[in-house]
Amino acid sequence: MNKKIPIVMLILLFGLQSFLLQTHATETQQQYDYKSAEFKAVASQFMCTCGCGQDHYACDMAGCTNTDAFKADLIEMMNKGMDKDEIREYYVETLGEEILTAPEKKGFSLTAWVLPFVTLGGAGTGVFFLVRRWTRRSGEIQTSNEEMNVKDEVEEEILSSIIDEERKKYF
């Protein structure tokens, strides 16, 4: 019985996630203008080069000299039927990878994406073995305390503080 509850919860959680991913994937999209979802998906891939530090979707045209033309080009390509990936490949070929707001997920640039998680995984494994070593050491020392009943921590703290206070009062 005890084990069933967490298992059921896990199943529920995973079921819920796959359901969510599905609904997310089938979301309907609107007609596109400069602020439409489709245009956002395309334009936010590219970094504006006017020094605003934003992508071409976010860059406000009034302060920027080149996003205007860039946006027009993007719309033109989208009208020709090119999809997000084709447009990206086109610009990477002509302007280089620097134009993208994030490195590509292939070749050397893949290391940018992967290394943080590899490091975390490695460090996590290290921590696991460390805790195991510490726990074993402690196990050797106090095997008899295996069934030690740990009292609720808050209660213990309150109790000790009250005892302290009482002691101060009387001594």
Binding site: I99, W134, T135
Partner: protein, 660 residues
């Protein structure tokens, strides 16, 4: 004034060298008079720096354009407030402010009543003075604040209009206070190691310093975000710019430090790790300064290309190598008293995971920030690492972090039995699953949002239970009314309950981030006068376009009448400001905020015939970011507040030396 300003810097430099020398000699030959002289020197150095800053403020206020700095960053029509704020608008001025805080902190330690008779003081002071010396050398020979021009310009170049915002005035100051604040625990740690005091005295001694530095770093980042939100007109608050990253990294490692010290205090473990964390945090503040001052990476924060960054890099190298040397030379002492863990599932191990994730997140930020340089070095191709990268990489790490934060309070120290786990986590788990199901049925269906909010519900419930059980336990013994029991519970363990308030604040901030990142709406339309834009429940009607002059600036603004569900909310005026002495115009956003969402209105472009283009956004839950930030401040202040039951500064019990 020229003489006074320069003299205060060079005399300060000489006094710094003198103080370092007398401290070192005083320690060597154990002569208290030399140590006392050094302490006097510290105060004199502080006075010099205060005078230098005061002189600069006077020059800025009186618009003395013969000074290069004054002419570069101010103009005569600037309001006095912003003239004074130009102190931290440029390289040398901001370094002067930094040095002022550093010398102020050093003087505070030297004169502190609690530090009297503590043999660590000469060591701590020397370490901080070495830092001060670096700044004096920079100010005296590399980036001279009081340099004169060959001529007297009729007018200054003016302050970058982007910086003319109250948020921008406070943001750099709080960040500097945070950066400099981290130097203090670093100096304490080094002094403790040199003195071979390997207990947790230095940690207890610097607890308040570290929390204050952390609080200022937090505030600095939040105020920067708030400024970006209202001033840049892109509707965001965090762009993962290299410089933002540079202040986020020490924040992450300092947060890790604040948690891992608890293991050292309780179990006498992780000593090497804690010292490494504080070295890392301080080194990262210097790394951040290197990024801002070197122009090596493109950033909106850059102070322009100068070789100043190189000096910071070298200084950082010296500090790190020196610190690692001290750490290694005491490694055998630190190693000796390693403790043990009783169980895999305990508060201790959750703190380890917390540290792993926080440092992991810091590494991910670091890696993303320097990847453009790595890529260029390895394959000669430049890449840009922007918002999508950081959002993708950080989201899972930080969300897991939130989960650990939710779980940790209810885990017991030593060992959590299966019974204990079930008792503590069944209710929060059930409630958060119910919450998630409710969200899905109510239409919140994006995976990140549902999981994120689920974790936040879990966090709220576990934290509520922590307060509830504490109060219940107290009342069982004392029969006090609930508010009194709660008050006494919290004030008797300020750090713990202050920490929980901070956690709840962070949860609010996360709510704001998840909501605004996943459910923002945006539209851009060109309107004729009288036409409207409909977005969500809002109708925004364009009434008129006008221009007005303010000093030498011209402001173009539009009147927009906003209705929500047919109810009139009022007239709002988004603006574009054109500056008399600056090329780029700036955007003044019109904002209607509520607890649920912000209506964010930007005037983009317009034509002579009166048509105008507007960008309108609805950003959900932004207010929670600011509410959460206030809670973080309240929690931090609550944690460090000196109360009746606090024993914040313990008595020194380490190695005794003849001088103090």
């Amino acid at each position: 004034m020229y003489l006074l300003g320069n003299a205060s810097i060079y005399i300060g430099l000489a006094l710094t060298i003198y103080s370092i020398l007398v401290f070192i000699i005083g320690i060597k030959i154990k002569k208290q008079t030399l140590i006392n002289s050094g302490k006097g020197g510290v105060i004199a150095v502080f006075i010099c720096m205060a005078v230098a800053n005061a002189v600069m403020l006077y020059l800025l206020a009186t618009s003395q354009f013969q000074y290069e700095y004054v002419s570069n960053y101010t103009s005569s029509e600037l309001p006095l407030f912003y003239k004074l704020a130009a102190l931290w608008a440029g390289n040398s001025g901001s370094l002067m402010l930094w040095s002022f805080f550093l010398t102020m902190y050093t003087a505070m330690i030297v004169v502190s009543r609690k530090m009297q008779g503590n043999p660590m003081v000469p060591y701590i002071s020397s370490i901080l003075l070495i830092n001060t010396l670096f700044f004096f050398i920079i100010l005296g020979f590399v980036s001279r604040p009081f340099a004169l021009l060959d001529y007297v310009p009729a007018e200054g170049r003016g302050l970058n209009p982007m910086l003319q915002n109250p948020g921008m005035i406070v943001h750099p100051v709080t960040l500097y206070l945070g950066y400099v604040g981290l130097a203090v625990p670093f100096a304490f740690a080094m002094a403790a190691l040199i003195l071979k005091n390997v207990d947790d005295f230095w940690i207890k001694m610097t607890r308040r310093w570290t929390i204050i530095a952390w609080l200022f770093l937090t505030l600095g980042n939040i105020l920067g975000g708030q400024w970006a939100y209202v001033e840049l007109g892109w509707g965001g608050y965090w762009a993962w710019d290299p410089v933002e990253n540079a202040s986020f990294m020490p924040w992450l490692t300092a947060t890790a430090f604040l948690h891992s010290v608890m293991i050292q205090e309780r179990k006498n473990m992780l000593k090497v790790w804690n010292i490494s964390l504080i070295i890392l945090s301080y080194a990262l503040t210097l790394f951040g300064t290197f990024l801002v001052r070197s122009g090596v990476l493109t950033s909106v924060h850059a102070f322009g290309d100068s070789d100043l960054g190189m000096y910071f890099l070298i200084f950082m190298g010296v500090i790190v190598v020196g610190a690692i040397y001290v750490l290694m030379s005491r490694y055998h002492l630190l190693k000796r008293s390693a403790g043990e863990f009783t169980s895999y599932v305990s508060k201790e191990s959750s703190f380890l995971i917390n540290n792993l994730l926080l440092v992991g997140a810091a590494f991910a930020v670091f890696w993303g920030t320097i990847f453009p340089l790595v890529s260029e070095a390895v394959r000669g191709t430049k890449v840009t690492v922007g918002i999508p990268f950081f959002n993708t990489v950080q989201a899972p790490i930080l969300l897991t972090m939130m989960f650990v934060m939710a779980v940790c309070p209810l885990l017991a120290w030593q060992r959590s039995s299966a019974k204990n786990l079930r008792k503590n986590f069944l209710i929060p788990a059930v409630l958060s699953v119910i919450g998630m199901i409710l969200m899905v049925t109510l239409g919140i269906q994006k995976a990140w949002a549902v999981i994120g909010y689920g974790v936040i519900i879990f966090l709220f419930v576990t934290h509520y239970l922590e307060f509830y059980r504490g109060v219940k336990a107290r009342r069982k013994m004392t029969k006090e009314p609930v508010p009194i029991a709660l008050y006494k519970l919290m004030t008797k363990n300020r750090r713990r309950y202050g920490g929980y308030i901070v956690h709840i604040g962070i949860a609010f901030i996360t709510m704001g981030i998840i909501g605004s990142q996943n459910y923002d709406m945006e539209t851009m339309k060109t309107l004729d006068i009288g036409e409207s834009i409909d977005i969500k429940d809002y109708r925004i009607t364009y009434e008129r376009l006008e221009q007005r002059a303010e000093g030498i600036n011209d402001i173009v603004y539009a009147d927009l009448t906003v209705f929500k569900d047919g109810k009139r909310l009022g007239v709002f005026q988004p603006e574009k400001v054109f500056y008399g002495n600056w090329d780029e115009p700036s955007t003044e956003v019109a904002l209607h905020s509520s607890i649920a969402e912000d209506l964010y209105m930007v005037l983009s472009t317009w034509d002579e015939n009166g048509t105008a283009t507007f960008i309108i956004k609805v950003n959900p839950m932004i207010s929670w970011l600011w509410i959460g930030s206030i809670m973080v401040v309240i929690g931090s202040v609550f944690a460090i507040w000196t109360g009746r039951y606090q024993n914040i500064t313990p008595k020194y019990t380490g190695v005794m030396k003849e001088v103090a």
